[in-house]
């Protein structure tokens, strides 16, 4: 039974061991950042952070804190590896992505260390699947240096209010322009597409607005193609925090409640496009 030998191995042989009663608590969060093939995983005793990047301009991080797992052991200070996220998600949903009500897929995830594959043991109804996914050399991830002390404007919205806006974004527009201001229009999303421009205004006293802290008018443009993938996280989330710093960098933090009512966070960082030209309002 060579397949089962890893289970018998001493847990001390692994630099990372994590067990989860409901694999969907992990797979759902990972889907929210699945816009590129590969991801880098960092595990510390606090949990796992999975990072996906694109075009050196956008970075998405999913945080799965240790408390989400029923068992979470990290032997080293930090464990880092790169993995094919598509394959990982395929394996995690090997018993189907929408299971029958009442049946849960349990997961045990083991990683022996640099050069070893990531081992997944998935069990549902007494059936066990073992997956070995080769890990890759970790790549250095971008440091956006987004520091909360440099944050100029911050808005927390109920995700419901942004969901439709993001799903209906005019994709013929190259950019999404975000205006945040202490005065009118307070919070505005604008696109400039083939058909003309469109603006979406949220008043600051709207019921959707959980908090509104804008100190200075900022108008920044972001590549719509880079921001569009964040819709995946938006759809899952209940609240979103939108922040911009003094350089115009954008941080979108999504609060996602999993099936067990626990809270996880997904974060997107995005660089602004070039200077806003004087044009349409």
């Amino acid at each position: 039974m060579p397949l089962l030998t890893p289970q018998i191995q001493d847990e001390n042989d692994y630099s990372l061991v994590a067990s989860l009663d409901n694999v969907r608590n992990l797979s759902t969060i990972l889907k929210a950042i699945h816009f590129r093939e590969h991801a880098t995983c960092f595990a510390t005793k606090n949990g796992i952070k999975v990072t996906v990047e694109n075009a050196k301009c956008v970075q998405a991080n999913a945080f799965i804190q240790a408390g989400i797992f029923q068992e979470f052991i990290v032997q080293e200070e930090s464990v880092t590896f790169r993995i094919n996220l598509t394959v990982l998600l395929d394996c995690l949903s090997i018993f189907g992505s929408s299971p029958m009500p009442g049946t849960l897929t349990a997961l045990r995830m083991c990683y022996q260390g640099y050069g070893y594959p990531l081992m997944l043991f998935l069990e549902e109804g007494g059936v066990v699947t073992v997956c070995k996914i080769n890990t890759q050399e970790p790549e250095e991830t971008l440091d956006f240096d987004f520091c909360s002390t440099n944050v100029i404007n911050k808005i927390i919205l109920q995700s419901e209010g942004l969901r439709e806006a993001f799903s209906e974004l005019d994709m013929t527009s190259e950019v999404l322009q975000i205006t945040m201001s202490p005065d009118k229009p307070y919070f505005r999303l604008s696109t400039f597409g083939n058909a003309g421009s469109s603006h979406l205004d949220y008043p600051k006293d709207s019921d959707l607005m959980e908090s509104f802290h804008c100190n200075q008018t900022q108008v920044n443009r972001y590549k719509i193609s880079l921001l569009k993938p964040s819709t995946k996280a938006l759809v899952l989330s209940c609240k979103v925090s939108i922040r911009t710093d003094n350089r115009g960098f954008l941080s979108l933090q999504y609060m996602i409640r999993n099936e067990d009512g626990q809270i996880c966070f997904v974060e997107y960082y995005c660089c602004p496009d070039e200077e806003v030209p004087e044009s349409e309002s």
Partner: protein
């Protein structure tokens, strides 16, 4: 122009735009004194649809700023449709919709006021255009079917959306028959195929008047082909209002689907296809033929000023016209060179003779019988000789 739509009427407007989008790629928006008109025509000019929203449909309606002329415009259907893309969302969250044209910005501004104070503003670019008008008169129709929209909607539902044509006819027992054909390739003409028939008994219809003809509609051949692409638009309207009346002109004329209500009027005018194929024995059931009155039996149609001696353009003439008041210097462009002045009647004889010569079993010619404009112009306008080849044919590899 400025108008304000509130409550459930926003969804009605959205639905109307959705059904127009099934027909054409461009939307003609024209504020008139008697309401806001939305019109479209498809690229081959074989289908036309229009809605007229009465001023009462709006909470506020102003066709033109005082002292100014009303503007009309043409916009991309896609961009206007995007405003109402999700009807469910429109229904759930939009409280009012304000459409304005001719302000400082040279844009058509559509503003949606949504729940939670959220406001969506779409500034759509538009083109100036002349008025799009199809000349048709439902009152001239010799045959009228009037039914709850649901009945007609359910009847066309089983037909595949990609189906190229559907025939609507009235069979014996005052039944309405909708049927489709298979292509000739698989089956020889002798057995070409009744694909599906919908029979609807008289009772399903509120009114079924086959004007002038006992039981059998049409001038004898009991068939009326048209492209079904427009029909899927009509079920969409079912949600809007109750009645669709379909008016069939003489066989060779377009089918007009109409919805009406005190607040809105909608017309879908679909060209019909040439129907010489009905001579094919397999396509024309014996009973239909038996019941068919002789061609000469039908009454002479009314000829009004747009009628002329050209059979192809007889049924409907669509043209871009200037305001009839002539207040503007917009030239009236008639796309039928031969349309005016009206010539002597007698539109049928020539064509019917031609058809009589058709051999039984001739495959359906799939030719529009009643283009709004187009085919009749083709010979005159086609470039003489082959067009110059700009690049040489590349030799086949190897």
């Amino acid at each position: 122009m400025k108008c304000l739509v509130t409550g459930g009427n926003v969804k009605v407007l959205g639905k109307a735009v959705h059904s127009l989008s099934r027909i054409g790629d461009e939307l003609y928006l024209e504020p008139l004194e008697d309401g806001l008109s939305l019109r479209t025509v498809n690229s081959s000019r074989s289908a036309y649809a229009c809605f007229l929203f009465a001023p009462l449909f709006f909470q506020q309606y102003q066709a033109a700023a005082p002292g100014q002329e009303a503007l009309r415009c043409k916009i991309l259907m896609k961009s206007f449709l995007a405003v109402f893309r999700s009807l469910a969302t429109v229904e759930r969250s939009v409280e009012k919709c304000c459409i304005s044209l001719g302000g400082r910005s040279s844009r058509l501004v559509v503003q949606l006021h949504c729940k939670y104070g959220v406001r969506k503003t779409h500034n759509l670019s538009f083109q100036d255009c002349e008025s799009l008008q199809a000349v048709f008169d439902p009152a001239l129709c010799s045959n009228v079917l009037r039914a709850p929209a649901r009945v007609l909607g359910e009847a066309v539902l089983p037909f595949p959306p990609a189906l190229a044509e559907v025939t609507l006819g009235i069979g014996c027992g005052r039944r309405v028959i909708l049927r489709s054909y298979q292509e000739e390739e698989e089956a020889g003409p002798s057995c070409s195929c009744l694909h599906r028939q919908h029979r609807q008994s008289h009772g399903d219809r509120d009114e079924h008047r086959a004007g002038g003809f006992p039981a059998v509609a049409g001038p004898g051949r009991g068939g009326h082909h048209f492209l079904p692409q427009g029909i899927p638009g009509t079920p969409e309207l079912c949600g809007i209002r109750k009645l669709v009346s379909q008016r069939l002109l003489r066989c060779t004329r377009p089918a007009i689907f109409a919805v009406s209500d005190s607040l809105l009027d909608g017309h879908f005018v679909l060209a019909t296809l040439s129907e010489s194929d009905l001579h094919s024995p397999a396509l024309c059931s014996p009973e239909l033929r038996r019941l068919a009155p002789p061609l000469q039996a039908h009454s002479t149609p009314h000829l009004d000023d747009f009628a002329n001696d050209d059979i192809d353009s007889y049924m409907i003439a669509m043209e871009t016209t200037a305001d009839s008041e002539g207040s503007r210097a917009v030239p009236s462009i008639s796309l039928f060179p031969g349309l005016r002045p009206p010539c002597s009647p007698g539109p049928y004889s020539e064509d019917n003779e031609a058809e009589a010569g058709t051999q039984p079993g001739t495959p359906p010619p799939k030719k529009f019988r009643s283009l709004f404009f187009g085919s009749i112009l083709a010979p005159a306008h086609s470039p003489p000789g082959p067009s110059p080849v700009l690049a040489e044919d590349s030799e086949g590899e190897g």
